[in-house]
């Protein structure tokens, strides 16, 4: 939801080198049905957490939709799922 500038700062601080996209208008968030209406600090619509692993043809191979905000997919889980990809 953050604008690209805020994300750039975060990426530099955290050392992220992967592609980091901004969705301030919740376009992709809406398309993936992950909108959490009114849950932002100022009551704006934000995303509920979700992780999707796609194969190179764009088919979803693995999904994680947590039921608890504090609990996210662990790296080991994702690496295990990534073994499916050829």
């Amino acid at each position: 939801m953050d604008p690209p500038e805020a994300s750039r700062e975060l990426c530099q601080k955290a050392g992220y080198t992967f592609t980091f996209l901004s969705d301030p208008k919740a376009e992709a968030i809406r398309r993936y049905d992950l909108v959490h209406a009114g849950a932002g600090i100022n009551g704006q619509d934000i995303a509920r957490p979700g992780e999707f692993l796609l194969d190179s043809s764009g088919i979803v191979r693995w999904v994680n939709l947590t039921e608890n905000l504090w609990v996210r997919a662990r790296p080991e889980q994702i690496l295990e799922a990534a073994k499916m990809l050829k």
Binding site: L21, S22, A28, F52, V60
Partner: protein, 150 residues
């Protein structure tokens, strides 16, 4: 003031209950084993509650002033309330998430999108799926919709 006069269990218990609460978002959320289930925080809360009870009993047992009884009860109540709020925040409020029943499932095509990256350049999902990385075609793409910075 002599040490026996200070009701240390109540104050240590109070500080410990505050620490038990605050150490989740600031400390224990960093490791999966203490994050996914907050056992470390609940353990610290347990110690805090024991001390708070001991502190309250101390003021009620001894022929203490009314104000001492009042203060110890109040402090103990605050400690218990912080535990109640922690349980509420972790086990109840954090689960108030929309169901996402329309989210793409395994086997389905991932909806396309194009969004700006951190330099402002528009990136297409299709590009991420096809553009070579280190000279090799990508095996796939991991999409993470995050919330908060952990």
């Amino acid at each position: 003031m002599r040490l026996q006069k200070i009701n240390w269990p109540i104050w240590v218990g109070f500080l410990l209950s505050a620490f038990a609460f605050l150490s989740y978002p600031f400390v224990f959320v960093r490791w999966p084993s203490t994050r996914d289930f907050p056992w470390a925080n609940l353990l610290i809360f347990a110690f805090a509650i024991v001390l708070l009870i001991a502190g309250v009993r101390r003021t009620f047992k001894a022929s203490q002033k009314r104000t001492a009884k009042f203060i110890s009860s109040l402090v103990a109540t605050l400690g218990v309330l912080s535990l109640a709020f922690f349980i509420f925040a972790f086990f109840i409020a954090s689960r108030w998430l929309p169901g996402a029943h329309g989210a793409p499932q395994a086997g389905q095509k991932a909806p396309d999108f194009s969004l700006a990256d951190t330099t402002g350049k528009t990136v297409h999902l299709g590009e991420l799926l096809s553009e070579p990385l280190d000279g090799k075609a990508p095996k796939g793409v991991l999409l993470i919709f995050y919330r908060g910075y952990w």
